[in-house]
């Protein structure tokens, strides 16, 4: 049996209640919206690139603790990264929440985001954790349409 502590760790609860970078970035040159039609969670990612590096990033939206904390911690981690580095983060984070912390997976680059390693035991919540990341990827790729978890 999973202990709830593995999912709702203090860091996740903290970021869900006081999300960081929870704002619209004025003059954002990239933005995208993510939507999970199953639960209605919505997140919009705003970012500014300078010299091929994420200079500023913020998000707005509404959702559960998992999706909000994931977005909050993601924005902290993505700042200062190149689009290619952010894409690599996406891949590692996606593997972490879908397959769990395997030996082959190098989670060192995730930093605090490793706190989401418990999500893999809650299949119904994987989409919550990954929603903001799909929006980030879409923003970086310049997709104009709302990305969906479906």
């Amino acid at each position: 049996m999973s202990d709830l502590g593995e999912l709702y760790q203090e860091l996740i609860v903290d970021h869900s209640r006081r999300p960081r970078n929870f704002r619209k970035i004025a003059g954002a040159d990239h933005q995208a919206e993510g939507y999970n039609p199953l639960c209605g969670d919505k997140v919009t990612i705003y970012l500014k690139l300078k010299d091929d590096v994420v200079q500023e990033i913020g998000f707005q939206g509404s959702g559960c603790a998992i999706s909000t904390a994931s977005a909050s911690l993601m924005t902290e981690r993505a700042k200062g990264k190149t689009p290619a580095e952010a894409e690599a983060l996406f891949d590692v984070f996606h593997k972490l929440v879908t397959e769990g912390p395997t030996e082959e997976l190098d989670t060192s680059q995730l930093g605090k985001l490793a706190v989401f390693s418990g999500v893999c035991e809650y299949p119904t919540r994987v989409k919550c954790a990954i929603l903001a990341w799909h929006a980030l990827r879409a923003a970086l790729q310049g997709a104009a349409e709302v990305v969906s978890t479906e």
Binding site: S2, R17, C39, S62, A65
Partner: protein, 428 residues
């Protein structure tokens, strides 16, 4: 019509004279009939409070389906062999059971469908396409499930008709005066839920049918949440169509009932074409079968139908009215207990409710509440309950919903209350 000032007032008002469920009804003993309830989930005893989504099936229903596949599986209405004869007889016997269950006048007024959703789509496609034209109106309410909204939107889009929506008040009750005002000479059909799945509100369908009939408008009732929780008699109601789903009535998934008045059904064109719904086919002309077969194209869900028959038998034996009285007391008990929790707001505080307790907790998203309750073995629904306009009406994205059946107990309600306290602890 007065609106309860707070959820607590409403709870106090709806807690009847009794605080404990009726002594004559032995839920613990009834639980023995439902093998699925005996399991543990995440190491905790299963507390199944998602009955409005799908109710569990008693052993007798499982046995009936088993028996069909073990000894009797054959197509109906076609075979000249013994197994087919037996299947046909049992399939048609379920129709007669459903007729008695709903108090319908004739067996051929009972059409087998996949569920309530298909029943509404059938009426929208067949009755709607024939009788609704440009500028005509369909009237629903603001508390409908998506399945009683979208089929009408599709029809309205195709025909240039208008979907009108009768409002609800802050307690989640239909504003009857407004409903009556919306009935006019362009109204071609009223379609309304008997009991709201998101709020638990019991609609005053008798009055609504009277009002609609006064203007010559037929009425369809979505009985998905009502038929399992109260005695329904379609002739006493005088409704024109009534639908329910087998899987919410302690039966299998994929089977449901559409009742329609014979005169209306007879005048309606077929819904789907295929085998069984015809008398003769040539490339020049096809003659349709009589009721109800005109609406039952193709090989139906025979096992599911036979399972539904067993579920109706189970409820008849149990006594639906007595079960409903027990559930009412259980809901009152749960409402009282849950409304005492700080930071919790009940959504849907109608004076007359059935089975459903929807709520939101300050600072906690319903999905997080659902996950934390699940880890304690408590199954609830979290989300918009396929009623997004209802959520919008209350200015929320989602609720956590506990929904009760006659096999639930006060101990399970207590487990829910402890579970909610645990949710609050995680987010404290």
């Amino acid at each position: 019509m007065t609106t309860p000032a707070t959820a607590k007032d409403a709870a106090a008002a709806s807690v009847a004279t009794q605080e404990t469920p009726s002594r004559g009804f032995d839920a613990q003993k009834i639980r023995e009939d439902f093998p699925i309830l005996k399991q543990t989930v995440h190491g905790k005893p299963l507390v199944y409070l998602d009955n409005a989504a799908t109710a569990q099936t008693p052993q007798t229903v499982i046995d009936a389906i088993d028996r069909f596949y073990l000894a009797q599986c054959a197509n109906i209405h076609r075979g000249i062999h013994l197994l087919s004869e037996r299947s046909t007889a049992e399939y048609e016997e379920t129709r007669a059971k459903a007729q008695r269950f709903l108090g319908a006048a004739e067996t051929w007024e009972i059409v087998f469908v996949r569920g309530t959703t298909e029943a509404i789509n059938l009426v929208a496609s067949s009755y709607g396409r024939k009788h609704v034209g440009a500028g005509d109106e369909i009237l629903i309410t603001a508390m409908e499930h998506h399945s009683n909204i979208v089929p009408w939107q599709l029809l309205c889009e195709e025909k240039g008709a208008v979907l009108r929506v009768a409002p609800i008040n802050d307690a989640g009750e239909l504003v009857l005066d407004e409903f009556e005002k919306l009935l006019n000479r362009r109204t071609r059909l009223v379609s309304v839920s008997h009991v709201s799945n998101a709020l638990g509100t019991v609609n005053p369908v008798e009055r609504m049918i009277e009002m609609a009939h006064g203007k010559g408008v037929p009425v369809m009732i979505d009985g998905a949440q009502a038929a399992p929780h109260r005695k329904v008699n379609v002739q006493e109601l005088d409704c024109d169509f009534y639908a329910f789903s087998g899987h919410k009535l302690y039966g299998p998934t994929g089977i449901g009932i559409l009742y329609g008045k014979a005169g209306l059904l007879e005048a309606m064109p077929p819904y789907q074409g295929g085998g069984d719904m015809i008398l003769s086919v040539s490339f020049e002309k096809t003659t349709y079968n009589a009721l109800p077969y005109k609406f039952e194209a193709g090989t139906p869900n025979i096992a599911g139908t036979i399972g539904l028959g067993a579920a109706i038998d189970y409820l008849s034996h149990l006594g639906l009215e007595q079960a409903a009285a027990y559930e009412h007391e259980l809901l009152a008990y749960a409402t009282k207990k849950v409304s005492q929790l700080p930071g919790l707001r009940i959504i849907g505080t109608a004076r007359e409710k059935a089975s459903v307790l929807s709520f939101v907790i300050d600072g906690v998203h319903p999905h997080d509440a659902g996950t934390i309750l699940d880890q304690q073995g408590i199954a609830v629904r979290a989300g918009h309950h396929c009623a997004m306009p209802v959520m919008e009406r209350f200015g929320i994205a989602a609720t956590t919903r506990a929904s009760f059946a006659f096999y639930n107990t006060t101990e399970e309600v207590d487990a829910l209350v402890s579970g909610i306290e645990k949710v609050r602890e995680v987010f404290s």
